[in-house]
Symmetry: C2
Subunit: 395 residues, 2 copies
């Protein structure tokens, strides 16, 4: 059988493998970007499902509109206004089946084969996969402590010009490094890029997970041109099992997104959307987020403490001020994939760094997720990792 040429570009199975392990027991997993299942408000969700099924059971079990449940979209418009002063209207929001689908749809909308997509480096491997599937040429731009470096962006726009069809960025508590863009970088970026007619995907998956209780204005807030497409999700602030996320785009763009959403899966789950709307109306999501952020901060602190104690001096890392990840750097001649193979034997798993490079792969780094494991598991797993790293570095 013959396969589409895009298959050749989809060689990285790191994320698939991490997902496939979700139903495996006994594994200490620092791999995927999973929130802590201890934090899910199970009772409130159960009650919301009961209420939705009792009050609007037929509608909840039917197909939803392609754009998504209107009540949920209204609530999202209001919430984005309240939290981030974003002015997206209800009809500028489409509900997607997780933010991954929003990225897939963006590839579908903007990318022809060999078009250029600019990425931060390293960047989220799910986005890398989604855009590789459309046979984009992925160009990774350097980042510093304040975000995407402007010099590299200017050079890339000069070099690739009209071949650049999309820019993908995560300005808040970036996956995988945990870094956030400074306000100055945000405004500088928007000022520069507004001279071009290229869309920007702003992935805001971690934007509310600030350990310093400080929400930054999104790129979309500064965007006056309708150039930034904003992607939000409940996966990290509520739970991922419902697969409810949303994409915001201005009217003319949204019309096209809806055609693609319809072709991709007709609509997202009506019951999941109605459950979410019920929860937002009857519970306090902001307070829930405040609580989980407190827990994640504790876990970050604990993981940093064990890392400081157990990892050898040659490893480098910085303290993330939010999000779910710590990014670890080994000496340049070392390979985190070798480390992973050894860790798996001892039932510890993490994400090797190479997968996060859209281009110019480096293999001496890896990503640790700190949100998903208990204190005891962090203690045990990081201690095991520390031992393996020490052994590996001494070879």
């Amino acid at each position: 059988m013959k396969f589409a040429s895009r298959l050749e570009r989809l060689q990285d199975k790191a994320l698939l493998n991490a997902m496939e392990l979700t139903e495996t027991e006994d594994m200490i997993s620092f791999a995927a970007g999973f929130p802590s299942s201890d934090t899910y408000p199970v009772e409130a969700i159960k009650n919301s499902f009961i209420q939705v099924l009792e009050l609007e059971g037929k509608e909840a079990l039917s197909y939803c509109s392609t754009s998504g449940h209107i009540k949920l979209r209204k609530l999202l418009a209001k919430r984005m206004q309240d939290r981030f002063k974003l002015d997206f209207k209800t009809e500028e929001i489409v509900i997607t089946s997780g933010s991954q689908q929003a990225l897939d749809m963006s590839g579908m909308l903007f990318i022809n084969k060999d078009d250029v997509v600019l990425f931060e480096t390293p960047s989220y491997l799910g986005a890398v996969n989604a855009l590789r599937a459309y046979e984009a040429e992925l160009v990774a731009l350097p980042t510093d402590e304040n975000g995407l470096t402007m010099d590299s962006l200017k050079q890339a726009m000069d070099r690739y010009g009209e071949r650049v069809k999309l820019i993908y960025v995560i300005p808040d508590f970036q996956n995988p490094t945990g870094r956030s863009w400074s306000v100055a970088r945000r405004t500088e970026f928007i000022e520069f890029i507004s001279a071009y007619d290229v869309p920007v995907i702003e992935d805001a998956a971690y934007s509310e997970l600030s350990f310093e209780n400080k929400l930054e204005s999104p790129l979309s807030f500064y965007d006056k041109k309708g150039q930034v497409v904003y992607v939000g999700t409940f996966s990290k602030i509520f739970c991922p099992g419902l697969r409810v996320a949303w994409l915001c785009a201005r009217k003319d763009l949204m019309e096209k997104y809806l055609i693609l959403k319809n072709a991709a899966d007709l609509s997202s789950s009506a019951i999941a959307q109605r459950q979410m709307a019920y929860y937002l109306q009857n519970y306090d999501l902001d307070n829930h987020i405040k609580w989980i952020v407190g827990r994640y901060k504790e876990r970050r602190d604990h993981m940093m403490e064990v890392i400081d104690r157990e990892f050898p001096q040659e490893t480098r890392y910085s303290v993330p001020r939010g999000g779910l990840f710590i990014w670890i750097e080994l000496p340049e001649n070392k390979d985190s994939r070798i480390l992973l193979r050894r860790a798996l034997v001892e039932k510890v798993v993490f994400m090797p760094g190479g997968s996060f490079y859209p281009s110019g792969v480096k293999n001496n780094e890896f990503r640790l997720n700190f949100s998903n494991m208990s204190h005891d598991e962090i203690e045990k797993g990081i201690t095991i990792l520390g031992k393996i790293i020490r052994e590996y570095l001494s070879e």
Copy 2:
């Protein structure tokens, strides 16, 4: 802004428009292929959600594996064996977010720009949209009362040869015509096509909705080569709001599908899958289907009766022996889109036939769904349609 070239091929918004109307009130809709919301076992589903959240709440609200909840896949393997003697193993099944996603993934897997896909004509417009999005050349082959005509298939394989990368068919109670393939046609098709190395997508969405209580063996049953990819869904036999469907493919193909599923949306909803697994284990789906099939048969009978009474003699149609649709033919010089515009004014909606033509569009037909409206709505809506058709034909 520049868009991908695939957007140019996605001009048909009939399905999108039908979906967008789902939250509109006061409309008598014979448009979309919706099951009857009266048939949803709301209490059983509510109880299943409660049980799942109480027994395995954390897992149900977490990410699922990309391949899907293993218990559900086991139950599906057994069910397909019991109902259709299909021998797909658990690991040959991936859960998808509705069967639309399975079609989208199939386009993604097999189609490069300008590859040929063979369709029955007319055929499901969601599949047409999904495969257009990959810029396939859609070639529509004639059908007769027994299914895809073998002569036209042979001619197409001769003419297009290795350019044919996919064949998409609905052998049971086809959408939009309601026709089924005969056993002879099924075996003849498989015998012929097994000489080629081309994959066949068998869309089995309606396979259990037989009004004569007669389940035909799927193409996959006759396929000894692993050439047929089987797509099943709960949307028509249970409810569509959960977005739970499944795709079966042999091992080497499945590995590739999983890469694409991961890139598309990481995984389908864990809670929806676990709810479905709980229902299958604790309730009698087969009995439920038997019951809804009885109701749909009544609605078909009622709609046929009103059509016979109200539609003018010049309209042609045949009685479907299962499924959800009646296909109506107007005289050749008439256009069902004109009819639709007039019907919408009177708050009646249906699907104009042109959307179901992958190529060589004909506009004098339209599709009526009979499952989704009550007896009273059928009476009222078909009577209105009859009046509009009589007026239109007399012009």
